[in-house]
């Protein structure tokens, strides 16, 4: 028996992104660990990148006051996904709501934006197998500079 290998804490997070028609993107995120269980669903209008709707649910938590955090996350409805959004989620929703759910929301938005790059790249490669992928990604960031921060991809390293 190797009792030392037994985890004393374990956190799982998962985000899944869908394209719903031409102008809507939807992401669902879940978080589970010893202390917390949370989920969020975010619907975003595209290409305006405006958050249309947020569903935030705190299922497992530590204090009687944690539930006060849920409505705070509705404040994100109407926000635009830009270079400021990660900071706004952490400061305005994390500090006034729940830091754990705010991190899940940042992960969800990041996944949604990365999915857009992957979707565009995959689509272009299907019609043009000889596509210069590096150039395509550089162009994507030139055309969408405000997505650089949230994607955390350091395109300058390409």
């Amino acid at each position: 028996m190797d009792l030392k290998s037994m985890p004393i804490y374990s956190r799982m997070k998962s985000c899944g992104v869908q394209k719903q028609g031409e102008s809507r993107r939807v992401v669902s995120g879940v978080l589970e660990d010893e202390l917390y269980a949370m989920q969020c669903e975010i619907s975003v209008d595209w290409p305006s990148r405006t958050i249309e709707s947020v569903q935030a649910r705190i299922k497992r938590f530590t204090t009687v006051r944690c539930v006060l955090a849920e409505p705070v996350f509705l404040k994100a409805e109407g926000w635009k996904i830009d270079s400021q959004v990660e900071g706004r989620i952490k400061k305005e929703l994390g500090r006034n709501g729940c830091r754990h759910l705010a991190i899940l929301m940042v992960d969800s938005i990041r996944s949604l934006v990365r999915a857009e790059l992957v979707r565009n790249l995959t689509s272009e490669l299907q019609s043009n197998p000889d596509l210069d992928a590096v150039n395509f990604v550089r162009t994507f960031f030139l055309e969408n500079p405000e997505l650089k921060t949230i994607m955390k991809l350091n395109p300058d390293n390409l």
């Binding site: 030392k4 004393i8 956190r11 899944g16 530590t62 590096v134 390293n157």
Partner: protein
């Protein structure tokens, strides 16, 4: 209907020896995959060993990380770690994505250490709850920390005003 992009991450903390913890984080999505291993020792909670393995980098945007991982040795889990880790592992010569994951791994140690204290607080000042986000048939929470114990915990300057639970509690 069909998901066309997924991100998954799993972080586990194990107690590898007396006062020594091992934190292992694995994260990946359609573009990137990484594994981070940290060995952290009490009482100063400083990183003794650090390993970052990039498993997938579809676009080739992540630089060689092993030398940057070595720089994390000596960094302490505690106040100021965010700025230090971002400077060492992130920025134009590193990866901002990986520096965020390193910080997440370090924060999981804090959570792991906190579990017992929260458990004690719930036993001492716990309260039954039926919340809107929980249930409606099966409830994940039976007893959570009640108002009196929230006041005690909220006296800690690191917790005061840190989230909805610790705001306006006076």
């Amino acid at each position: 209907m069909i998901v066309d992009f997924q991100m998954n991450s799993l972080t586990t903390v194990t107690e590898s020896g007396p006062g020594t913890w091992s934190v292992e984080l694995t994260a990946g999505d359609n573009l990137l995959g990484v594994s981070i291993n940290l060995e952290i020792k009490a009482p100063t909670l400083d990183i003794r060993k650090s390993l970052i393995t990039v498993k997938r980098d579809v676009m080739g945007v992540i630089p060689e990380m092993s030398s940057l991982a070595e720089k994390l040795v000596g960094v302490r889990v505690g106040p100021g770690m965010t700025k230090i880790v971002r400077e060492l592992v992130g920025g134009p010569k590193g990866s901002d994505w990986i520096s965020d994951l390193v910080l997440e791994a370090m924060e999981m140690l804090v959570n792991a250490i906190t579990v017992q204290e929260l458990e004690k607080a719930a036993i001492k000042g716990g309260e039954q709850i039926r919340a809107s986000g929980d249930g409606p048939k099966i409830f994940l929470n039976d007893v959570v920390i009640g108002p009196e114990m929230i006041k005690v915990l909220g006296a800690n300057p690191r917790l005061k005003d840190s989230c909805a639970a610790f705001q306006n509690i006076d």
